[in-house]
């Protein structure tokens, strides 16, 4: 009678031990800033027992829910679509919800800080207004002339393919806040705005391309791009950002010559 109980017990124990061995101890070194306490930002370490197959966002949740409720960060969908949780993880801009802990060397402390080039409001939250201002300035909406058609505006698969890459942008600001030109001069449009201009410039249904090219031809437009490829490396959606910028440059040159 006792044997099955024992067996069951040890099996349960084994299972418990197995789940325990899945987790590892990871240090998260987070850049904290709270203007209501101090004007200085500082690094704070948090130690967690966490499954390395979890995401950095799960770790941030655990810290916020179990250790320090004052930790502030943005996240909405938590599945890589809303673009709210772009942050600088181990010195690279990534989405916390798409970065697995096992992929970023959990043996060493994992540094997490706010994206650069924008005003830090608290901890990992930045003021995105200048970023969205640049986005608005390239007129990211369909511009057409003449009467509206009675049915949908048709487009061939080839014409759609032309700008397919740049439709994937989720406006997370990982690219723009990885751009060294943007860090030093906020007047530069930044990669994200140019990507979203590209999406309409090369859309066969759109007729505002000329206007957008004129905007990006100005002194803070595409010519400030130094092709450092930081944006392409940072993009969590895998958009070839630098290529898109170069295509806008090419369009500007072929328009003139």
């Amino acid at each position: 009678m006792s044997t099955p109980t024992l067996d069951k017990h040890s099996a349960a124990l084994d299972a418990a031990e197995n789940t325990a061995s899945h987790t590892i101890k990871v240090t998260f070194r987070i850049r904290r800033f709270n203007p209501e306490v101090s004007e200085e930002a500082s690094w704070q370490d948090f130690e967690l027992d966490i499954d390395p197959k979890e995401r950095v966002l799960d770790a941030l949740h655990k810290i916020k829910w179990d250790q320090d409720g004052t930790l502030t960060f943005r996240r909405s969908c938590a599945h890589g679509i809303c673009g709210s949780d772009a942050m600088r993880i181990n010195g690279k801009n990534r989405l916390a919800c798409k970065t697995l802990i096992k992929d970023i060397n959990p043996q060493k402390p994992i540094t997490i800080e706010a994206i650069k080039g924008l005003t830090v409001l608290k901890d990992l939250v930045v003021d995105m207004e200048p970023f969205f201002q640049a986005y608005r300035d390239v007129m990211p909406f369909l511009i057409t002339k003449g009467n509206e058609p009675t049915r949908e505006r048709l487009q061939s698969p080839e014409d759609r393919e032309r700008f397919d890459d740049t439709t994937k942008c989720i406006l997370c600001a990982a690219c723009t806040s990885s751009c060294p030109v943007f860090w030093n001069d906020g007047q530069y449009f930044g990669p994200a705005a140019i990507v979203n201009a590209h999406r309409f410039i090369f859309d066969s249904r759109d007729e505002g391309g000329e206007q957008r090219l004129e905007i990006l031809n100005d002194k803070d437009g595409v010519w400030r791009c130094r092709t450092t490829f930081n944006c392409t490396d940072a993009c969590p959606r895998g958009i070839e950002v630098t290529k898109a910028i170069q295509e806008v440059k090419r369009a500007l040159i072929t328009r003139r010559f």
């Binding site: 070194r29 904290r32 800033f33 709270n34 203007p35 209501e36 306490v37 101090s38 004007e39 200085e40 930002a41 500082s42 690094w43 704070q44 370490d45 948090f46 130690e47 967690l48 250790q67 320090d68 080039g117 924008l118 005003t119 830090v120 409001l121 003021d127 200048p130 201002q133 640049a134 300035d137 060294p180 030109v181 860090w183 030093n184 001069d185 906020g186 007047q187 004129e214 905007i215 031809n217 100005d218 002194k219 803070d220 437009g221 010519w223 400030r224 130094r226 440059k249 500007l252 040159i253 003139r256």
Partner: protein
């Protein structure tokens, strides 16, 4: 569980800031607003960008050729003297070569420095004066070099 790597934030000046009196945040340099940047509607940056590419290609030939003649062929640097320069500048071909190299290299370098200043000088005044210094130096060097090439006199005493 948590351990500070540095001293706790604002331990000494904890009384300075509170909810009603928050610390100033750090604004990024030259933040974009609704009003800025003003549109100029010129093609200057386009031509500047194009000039850098084209002059770069031509300069590769001009400068490498120049270095080869000056430093490698015919006994290297030891041959360079007043007579050597006078001999070369007797031919219009080398006059044009040197003139082209002078203008392209100076404008190419000046435009490169202009972008560096635009990228890295943060205050408007600093940018303005650094660029003025750059333009003055460029114009002076280009004009002086051009003058020498055109008025060179091999029989100067």
């Amino acid at each position: 569980m948590s351990a500070e790597t540095t001293s706790p934030a604002g331990a000494s000046d904890v009384t300075l800031y509170d909810v009603d009196n928050p610390a100033p945040v750090i604004e990024p340099p030259r933040k974009r607003t609704e009003k800025t940047p003003k549109s100029t509607r010129t093609n200057f940056e386009l031509y500047g960008w194009l000039f850098m590419r084209l002059s770069g290609i031509v300069l590769v030939v001009l400068v490498l050729g120049h270095l080869l003649i000056q430093l490698v062929l015919d006994g290297g640097v030891s041959k360079i003297g007043f007579a050597f320069v006078a001999g070369r500048w007797a031919s219009p071909f080398w006059q044009v070569w040197d003139l082209l190299m002078l203008w392209l290299a100076m404008l190419h370098g000046a435009n490169g420095l202009r972008t560096v200043i635009n990228d890295y000088a943060q205050r408007d005044n600093t940018r303005f004066w650094l660029k003025m210094l750059l333009y003055t130096a460029t114009v002076f060097t280009v004009l002086l070099g051009t003058l020498v090439i055109f008025t060179f006199d091999p029989n100067i005493r």
